[in-house]
């Protein structure tokens, strides 16, 4: 499934996910060394093509590539085809002609990494496309939960927030259900997409019911600009109804952990106190992100030209 890149979790099967996670746990060990570098991808070129700005994810991919000794190039054309008058495919084909071994793509519109991947020879890694998917985020979340709980099978995972506009939600829904967890989503009705159950989740309007018995609670970032889209009346009302704090967390299991893809709007979807300390594991997620992305780059950029090298 991963021969042509990593475009979505939906495309992966359980074996693919297990292979990536196993590899990521090996990679994590590299990050603990004094010299955090291995020669695995020496001579390989990775392009981070970020049409939508993202300091965190881009930095994580960049560090991951560098720890594997790859040459990492960042390219951030900011505007869309519409305003820039250059097609996304032209941009991508231009970079492809420079023979990269992998291209990491983020774009604000769903489907763009796939549209580009259909035209490129290099494998494409989706670093987030619109409200579609963010596969490496879901994989690093799985990795973090495995570390915390020792398993995914049989867990109950509750995702809270603007599910409609969240690529993190979609990827995590696929990732956790494929690995045997029960996934629930909760949020104001205006933030739950049409026929959300078709994704294989249970939907709740009551946070209390959604949290009942949850092992993992994932809060999504609320984009404050959605206020103008009349999706919710005010920050105050959102934080009162769906913002997570220690009092509301009591509805979940005693040993429940709290996750967030970052960056956190403190006091909105997560209380300041909960964002800082356990049971939240936000910084572990970030740490695992580097190892997970190393694993993905190794599996995709590392094997592609193996045959060539042997000649």
């Amino acid at each position: 499934m991963m021969e042509r890149g990593l475009l979505s979790i939906e495309d992966l099967d359980r074996e693919d996910i297990e292979l990536i996670l196993d590899t990521a746990f090996h990679m994590k060990e590299v990050g603990r060394r004094e010299v955090k570098k291995v020669p695995t991808l020496r001579g390989r070129t990775i392009i981070n093509l970020f049409f939508e700005s993202s300091t965190r994810t881009r930095t994580s991919f960049e560090i991951a590539g560098k720890r594997l000794s790859a040459d990492v190039v960042n390219f951030s054309p900011s505007a869309s085809s519409l305003t820039k008058r250059e097609s996304i495919l032209d941009t991508a084909k231009t970079l492809d002609a420079m023979d990269p071994d992998a291209v990491v793509i983020r774009h604000e519109v769903a489907g763009v990494p796939k549209q580009i991947a259909d035209q490129l020879t290099a494998p494409v890694i989706n670093a987030g496309d619109g409200a579609h998917e963010h596969p490496t985020q879901a994989l690093l979340d799985l990795m973090t939960v495995v570390e915390e709980k020792g398993r995914i099978d049989g867990l109950t995972v509750t995702i809270i927030g603007d599910i409609t506009h969240s690529r993190v939600a979609r990827s995590n829904i696929y990732a956790f259900t494929k690995m045997g967890a029960e996934v629930r989503v909760a949020g104001p009705p205006t933030m739950l997409p049409a026929q959300v159950e078709s994704l294989g989740v249970k939907a709740f309007r009551s946070l209390r019911e959604a949290l009942d018995g949850a092992d993992v609670v994932m809060a999504l970032r609320i984009q404050l600009e959605r206020l103008t889209g009349s999706l919710f009346p005010s920050v105050r009302e959102y934080s009162a109804t769906f913002g997570l704090d220690r009092a509301k967390l009591r509805f979940a299991k005693d040993d429940a952990i709290v996750m967030h893809p970052g960056p956190v709007n403190r006091g909105v979807e997560l209380s300041h106190d909960l964002a800082n300390r356990r049971p939240s594991v936000i910084l572990d997620q970030v740490r695992n992100g580097v190892a997970l992305r190393m694993a993905v780059l190794y599996l995709l950029a590392g094997q592609k030209r193996g045959a060539e090298e042997e000649r």
Binding site: E10, S80, S81, L82, S87, I88, L89, H107, V109, A110, G111, V112, K114, Q115, D129, G130, A131, H132, E133, T164, R167, R170, P193, A194, Q195, V196, S198, L199
Partner: protein
């Protein structure tokens, strides 16, 4: 040039008379001079052996975009006319969203002038209902009709102001021409680009809900009832809209409707690969909507199949799904695509031909779409079983935006006559002008 042509032994399908059976058709001096079970003693005629083939009235398209004037890089009246001829169309309505907009008799004149010189098929201009398609000031309908406009529409734009729409419908009674509406409530569509439902949720693309169309159709039906005007609902795509139109017809409201080949045969699942050539407005809908559109066509709630032929250049479609303009090519694939409904037993051949020709002509109040003695010889010869692979690059349109590109289709237009002139022959191409 337009001598005698004897179409011999074909299955003649004439929806106006109800004829469906083996017969001969004789064309002379641009007109049909005989339709009989078996003609004999015809001399000096070019004989076309139509055994095993269908002989039908030339198709009439209520809805197409020829892009001239102003967007000739997508299509022009010459290329669009050629594509139409190759698709079996002998008359096509062209929408007003050109540049400049067809909101003035001078533009209508220009279109008809180009058509006379460049187009192998008849071109029927649809004029804008409001100036600049802005929904604020109505167009000079009398002058536009005098110039040759056959209907009025702000297609592509929606007149959201209900008071304005009421006045447009009311005023149209002066000229007794249909007002064609692109029925989508833009405040419900917002940034929606695919049908709202499981597919939009999976894709993570903004959804365009069925109710956006239904609300607008319901509003316009009430306004048609109030004004007594002829409302024509363009490209119906939802079960709810079909039900409203059916109910309104039963109440005697003067409403007609069309449906596109893509809304009859494709569902929103076609968009799952993010191909911008599956982006239309209104969007491809769910299975139940498609079934309702077919049922509406079969029971007469929907009058006609109209292509909504909407050419866009390759570079305009090879972009992010949200940035791509909506619309697909329609002329050259229409017959083969909708013939599937006959193979599935959902429409009879006569119903299908009627919805492509006579019914469409009746919406416009034009004497077309008939195989009658004395009628202009707008005729098409069809092979309902011929298989072919559609390649837009080999077609006649300037554009290539088709969801059927590379697909094997069954059913082919073999020849098209307009006013007795052979304008298209499969294998030879477009022959005139």
């Amino acid at each position: 040039m337009a001598g005698r042509v004897w179409l011999r032994g074909g299955r003649v399908l004439d929806p106006a008379s109800g004829r469906d059976g083996r017969a001969d058709v004789l064309i002379e001096d641009g007109c049909i001079v005989a339709v009989e079970d078996a003609l004999a003693g015809v001399s000096d005629a070019e004989v076309v052996d139509a055994a095993g083939l269908w002989v039908a009235p030339g198709f009439v398209d209520l809805h197409a975009h020829l892009r001239e004037p102003g967007q000739e890089y997508k299509e022009d009246i010459a290329s669009g006319g050629r594509a139409a001829a190759a698709g079996g169309f002998t008359a096509v309505c062209c929408m007003a969203n050109t540049n400049p907009v067809n909101d003035d008799p001078s533009v209508t004149d220009y279109i008809l002038d180009r058509a006379r010189k460049d187009s192998p098929v008849r071109v029927l201009p649809v004029a804008a209902a409001t100036k600049g398609l802005a929904g604020e000031v109505m167009t000079e309908m009398s002058a536009l009709v005098a110039a040759g406009a056959v209907a009025f529409s702000d297609d592509g734009k929606t007149i959201m102001d209900s008071g304005m729409q009421r006045r447009v419908l009311e005023y149209s009674r002066l000229v007794e021409k249909p007002v064609m509406v692109h029925a989508e409530d833009q405040t419900l569509v917002r940034d929606g680009v695919v049908n709202e439902g499981a597919v939009s949720t999976k894709l993570g693309l903004p959804g365009n809900p069925a109710v956006a169309e239904i609300v607008h159709v319901a509003r316009d039906l009430l306004l048609a009832e109030l004004t007594g005007a002829h409302l024509h609902v363009a490209h119906v795509s939802t079960a709810g809209a079909v039900a409203h139109v059916r109910e309104a017809r039963a109440r005697g409201i003067h409403v007609t409707a069309e449906v596109s080949p893509h809304h009859l045969t494709l569902t929103d699942e076609a968009t799952l690969g993010y191909d911008p050539n599956t982006k239309m407005a209104p969007p491809l809908r769910g299975k139940d909507d498609v079934a309702a559109c077919i049922a509406g066509l079969a029971d007469g709630s929907i009058d006609a199949i109209a292509t909504d032929h909407a050419p866009h250049a390759v570079h305009e479609k090879e972009v992010e799904f949200t940035a791509a303009p909506p619309g697909v090519l329609g002329f050259e694939t229409a017959f083969a695509v909708v013939l599937e409904l006959v193979r599935r037993g959902q429409l009879t051949p006569l119903q299908l031909i009627g919805s492509l020709s006579w019914n469409a002509a009746r919406v416009l109040g034009l004497a077309m779409g008939r195989l009658e003695r004395g009628a202009a010889a707008d005729v098409v010869l069809l092979d309902p079983t011929r298989r072919w692979v559609y390649d837009p690059a080999q077609g006649f349109s300037k554009s290539r935006n088709s969801p059927w590109a590379g697909r094997e289709l069954e059913g082919r237009v073999l020849a098209t006559w307009v006013g007795g002139r052979l304008v298209y022959q499969q294998g030879r191409g477009v022959l005139v002008p």
